[in-house]
């Protein structure tokens, strides 16, 4: 049996067992006793941002159209005689996949037949079958997915913000690409990206449910360690130079919405100084900012309640902070009938909040709240699986969240916020209503 490393949280009463197989695949399991559902995700460190790369020994760099990672995710489900979904359906398992900026994940959930479904997952992700014909056929489906996102004002609001904040970094591009970029995708590109990014050493398998960690590791090892994988390619991911400034301060788009939707945020000037993968310092930064932003603008804050009572925001108002080793941003979003007034009020609120300093009592109250919501989120296997991998690929441990939340002093969160909330690094994206012409 492969050797296991354990990570445990006393407060959460959860444990994750890790191991690395001979083929390079990392395997992690969190046992959830008493749960009916079992959930497995096989994910690779390859997302929509990885559009340019160089492989050691190859002549030049490779550039691909936007949307290849997502396209590849769709096509990996295809088998010589049908879709792999059929095999999962035969087993009574639900299968799906997702692509984001930095990762692609393939998953199934089931109650019975866990092991055959597990074998299927490990088998199909490691065995691509792309043809000119099946690649062409997928373009119509993906075009509809892109058009669905085009009609989603929330999505367009966030994407507009990223396009305003970033000059060149590929996080500004849509994950699924554009109707045009998808047309340029070929079978050969999919194979090249597959060979580059789907080596087991670039991937992690995570299982959550009432399953033994030892059994998961043994079975994965039996399935994969005998296989003849090519040596792991040495991949350099090439990112364009990104100026530290924001590209434009304001973007607007008109859509069929009932009232304006505003999404505004700050480009994190320090993201690029983080190591790759960033590890513990980033985890403190993310959790510290979550606590700070709740204290500043959460539902119990003076600022939130003043804006709500004035009718500048409604219950749709929300905020978020996310950061990777080479991009990061804090944002606020919601419906508002006066977007510019809302931006002004929030930025003024931030300035006075920072100059007054974080109230230690309020910060302690937030700490209790954040710890409570972390406990709550560990009741959801979906939450655990997605966030475990997001954290893991950044070399952070999700299970340590509560301990980190307990240890962050207000001064630490405040100093991150002072760097982050730089008025020069603010951009605003507004979706404005376009009146429909009328009904027939």
């Amino acid at each position: 049996m492969p050797e296991m490393e354990l990570d445990r949280s006393e407060l959460l009463r959860e444990e994750v067992a890790y191991t690395r197989l001979d083929c390079g695949l990392e395997v992690a399991t969190m046992r959830k006793r008493g749960f009916a559902k079992k959930y497995a995700v096989l994910a690779t460190r390859y997302g929509s941002c990885d559009t340019k790369f160089r492989i050691a020994g190859a002549p030049g760099a490779v550039s691909t159209p936007e949307g290849v990672a997502h396209f590849l995710e769709h096509k990996l489900f295809e088998e010589e005689n049908g879709s792999i979904d059929d095999i999962f359906a035969d087993l009574g398992a639900y299968s799906n996949a997702f692509t984001n900026y930095t990762m692609t994940g393939y998953l199934f959930s089931c109650v019975d037949n866990f092991w055959p479904a597990f074998d299927t997952l490990l088998d199909f992700v490691m065995r691509p079958h792309f043809t000119d014909e099946n690649v062409e056929r997928e373009k119509g489906i993906i075009e509809q997915e892109i058009r669905m996102n085009d009609d989603s004002p929330d999505w367009q609001g966030v994407n507009g913000l990223l396009k305003a904040l970033y000059h060149a970094h590929p996080v500004r591009d849509e994950i699924a690409g554009t109707v045009d970029s998808v047309q340029r995708i070929t079978k050969d590109m999919l194979y090249e990206c597959y060979r580059t990014f789907y080596h087991p050493s670039n991937m992690t398998l995570f299982v959550v449910g009432d399953v033994s960690a030892g059994d998961v590791a043994d079975r994965a090892s039996a399935l994969l360690d005998g296989r003849d994988f090519a040596p792991a390619p040495q991949v350099e991911r090439i990112r364009p130079d990104e100026p530290s400034s924001v590209r434009v301060q304001r973007v607007e788009k008109s859509m069929a919405v009932s009232e304006p939707i505003v999404c505004f945020g700050y480009k994190d000037p320090n993201a690029s100084s983080l190591a790759s993968p960033p590890g513990q310092p980033l985890m403190r930064r993310i959790i510290g900012m979550e606590m700070l932003m709740h204290t500043l603008a959460g539902t119990s804050s003076a600022l939130y309640n003043a804006l709500y009572e004035e009718g500048l925001i409604d219950a749709s108002f929300d905020w978020d902070y996310d950061c990777e080793h080479d991009y990061g941003f804090a944002m606020f979003e919601g419906r508002s009938n006066s977007p510019d007034r809302l931006v002004k009020r929030v930025t003024e609120g931030i300035a006075s909040f920072l100059s007054a300093g974080v109230d230690p009592d309020e910060f302690e109250r937030t700490r209790r709240r954040v710890i409570g919501s972390m406990l709550r989120s560990f009741d959801s296997l979906e939450f655990i699986a997605y966030n475990f991998l997001t954290y893991h690929f950044r070399n952070m441990r999700l299970i340590d969240s509560v301990d980190v939340a307990r240890s962050i002093p207000p001064a630490e969160a405040q100093s991150v916020a002072r760097e982050l909330f730089d008025p020069d690094l603010l951009a605003v994206s507004v979706i404005t209503p376009r009146e429909p012409e009328g009904k027939e």
Partner: protein, 431 residues
């Protein structure tokens, strides 16, 4: 885990439903008030939910109320409305951290029941009305919330299809009511409405989590002590709609959109209370409930017309919908393929694989409810509303016995009523 609720009638004429499990880190406490779905009732209930979650007699200021919840480890609080068939429900829920994770005892649980009572029966008042500033603000917010359904094109297309299909029935009323009925509501009239709702609506309380039944009875009784209720039974949960005409209604609406949204509304004539309900679940599964089902396979995988194409059912009113996001020019082709698939189900053109995979999918979905307190509560509520309590174990039993003939029989009862299409402003005017 045995996912069967224990039920007990409490002194304030409410039923308490408890389900004990120790696997969750949070406990769910909820109270549901049921009423008949009506135009002005829906608007008032929706507004009431929004106003009640602003504060309570003890915590009249919203920020103070929220700070108190933060102090209690981010106890979550919701007060909102939902629709099941032609019943309208005011639902209050409180999620508290399981005391076992905070050093034991039952302080959080006890406080959770207290918050549930405050939220539902002890609002922030002013004179003889609810707090006027909250009522005024929430009237505006409710209007915005109703209007914002436009932002989600899929939800909007759904609602428009229902409004057209059920024009002459109460079911057409949206769960949030109507913008034009908001203005007339005053802090005084809303307080009267609230008092009547709390006293007269049938009430069910749920406690799911690390709670023994006897303790829950004791805590709920204690929390609601002094509440006097005179519940009046609600009317029928659903009424039979008119027979669809042989030529389905066809509605086309135009808007500046990139994708066409097709929603087809059907009448099944089968509700949760019907012995054919498991067969209807099955027919929906074969038709469009899963990725292995006919709609996904034919509309998406074979014809590449859509990213999503699926069917779903409303269990209390007996409706079914198909929805798909398609190219504007693909309307006729898509409708043709979709109808042909249902015809295949009616004629029994169903493979053994389609049958068995649907059976496995349905049983898996039912078993997975055990991991989700809100799903367990929803199944129990479907039983309460339809007057026929059903355990998930029983439902699984029924699913295991459904035959192809059963699926064909119920599929033949399913009638297309309304075809709704949301499309762009350009293009052929006669589409």
């Amino acid at each position: 885990m045995e996912e069967v609720f224990q039920v007990e009638r409490l002194p304030m004429a409410a039923d308490l439903h408890t389900l004990r499990t120790t696997k969750f880190k949070t406990n769910l406490l909820a109270a549901v008030l049921q009423s008949d779905l009506s135009v002005d009732g829906a608007t008032r209930n929706a507004l009431l939910g929004q106003v009640l979650r602003r504060g309570t007699r003890r915590w009249p200021n919203t920020a103070d109320f929220m700070r108190n919840l933060d102090d209690l480890y981010g106890t979550s609080v919701t007060a909102d409305v939902a629709k099941k068939g032609e019943r309208h429900m005011l639902m209050f829920a409180v999620g508290v951290v399981n005391d076992a994770y905070l050093g034991g005892g039952d302080e959080m649980l006890r406080k959770g029941f207290g918050i549930l009572r405050e939220l539902m029966v002890e609002p922030a008042a002013e004179g003889s009305g609810l707090r006027a500033d909250y009522v005024a603000q929430e009237k505006i917010n409710l209007r915005r919330r109703i209007e914002s359904i436009l932002d989600d094109k899929q939800a909007y297309a759904f609602r428009r299809c229902n409004e057209e299909m059920c024009k002459a029935e109460r079911y057409a009323v949206s769960k949030l009511g109507r913008v034009e009925d908001i203005d007339a509501i005053t802090p005084g009239s809303l307080a009267e409405w609230h008092a009547r709702a709390v006293s007269e609506y049938p009430m069910d309380i749920f406690a799911i989590g690390d709670i023994e039944h006897e303790r829950a009875v004791e805590m709920a009784t204690e929390a609601f002590r002094g509440l006097v209720r005179r519940p009046r039974p609600a009317g029928p949960a659903s009424t039979q709609g008119p027979e669809p005409s042989s030529e389905p209604r066809r509605i086309v609406e135009r808007m500046p959109v990139s994708q066409g949204h097709l929603v087809m509304g059907y009448r099944t004539g089968i509700t949760f209370a019907s012995s054919d309900y498991p067969a209807l679940l099955f027919a929906n599964g074969v038709y469009g409930g899963y990725t292995h089902s006919k709609l996904f396979q034919n509309v998406r995988e074979r014809a590449s017309l859509a990213y999503f194409a699926s069917s779903g059912i409303e269990t209390t009113k007996g409706l079914m919908w198909v929805n798909a996001g398609i190219d504007f020019d693909a309307f006729d082709t898509a409708v043709g393929i979709i109808e042909a698939q249902l015809d295949d189900v009616r004629r029994g053109v169903i493979t053994t694989t389609e049958m068995e995979n649907t059976r496995r999918g349905l049983i898996r979905d039912i078993e997975m409810m055990r991991d989700q307190p809100s799903s367990l509560m929803d199944l129990a509520l479907a039983g309460i509303v339809n007057g026929c309590p059903v355990t998930s174990e029983h439902l699984k039993q029924c699913i295991s016995q459904v035959s192809v003939e059963d699926v064909m029989r119920v599929a033949r009862e399913i009638r297309l009523d309304t075809v709704y299409f949301l499309r762009n402003e350009e293009g052929a005017r006669d589409a």
